[in-house]
């Protein structure tokens, strides 16, 4: 049983295109995240949603738009893709947004390559 799943696993596209990455968690968690991991393996948070509400929005170009249709899903849409968007994008979830330290459950990642 996959806890956090992402599709697609790989995405190769031309500069200027628009693409979406989907994420689903079946853990019943309230909070979901999108992270970007660059070529140097640095993992940086992009967005966080709690029960469909945006709660963290780091300094990310507005070409990136997250959407959460329900608390089990958090999708990421990227407009006008640029070369610098090439990276591995990870979705993650935690049981709650506050309180004690929570384990982050990560998806397998989506490797985006912009040509």
């Amino acid at each position: 049983d996959t806890a956090v799943s992402q599709t697609p696993k790989y995405l190769v596209t031309q500069m200027g295109n628009d693409k979406s990455i989907k994420c689903e968690q079946n853990l019943g968690h309230d909070t979901m995240y999108w992270y970007k991991q660059d070529s140097k393996k640095f993992l940086k948070i992009m967005f966080s949603y709690n029960n469909k509400e945006l709660i963290i929005n780091e300094t990310v170009p507005n070409r990136f738009s997250p959407k959460s249709p329900d608390k089990a899903h958090l999708n990421l849409h990227i407009n006008s893709l640029e070369l610098g968007d090439s990276a591995v994008y990870f979705c993650a979830s935690t049981p709650s947004r506050t309180g004690g330290p929570d384990t982050q459950y990560f998806g397998p990642g989506t490797r985006l390559t912009v040509l």
Binding site: V4, T31, K40, K41, F42, L43, K44, I45, S48, N50, I55, I56, F90, A92, T94, R97, T98, G99, G100, P101, D102, T103, Q104, F106, G107, P108, G109
Partner: protein, 113 residues
Amino acid sequence: TQLLEQSPQFLSIQEGENLTVYCNSSSVFSSLQWYRQEPGEGPVLLVTVVTGGEVKKLKRLTFQFGDARKDSSLHITAAQTGDTGLYLCAGAFSSGSARQLTFGSGTQLTVLP
């Protein structure tokens, strides 16, 4: 901005050797976590430390949280090839109404047979 520096960035050792990875910051964190990431997969939590000075052991792995809750170390005894992977520390802090993790720069460990 909370920054976490890990050292070394790369580490290649022979099976059976011991090693220590360091995670340092100028910021105080409410807790600190260590994750391991294998190629093609997402990070997986190894441990969470909460109290300053806390030491936790997970088989051959020993984790320590600094007294001031600004730094941490991961020590592996008698490394095995299965320990190969990217080790990430992550400090937790509250930002407004949300809890957020700041990840370290990562240590790529390779254990050679």
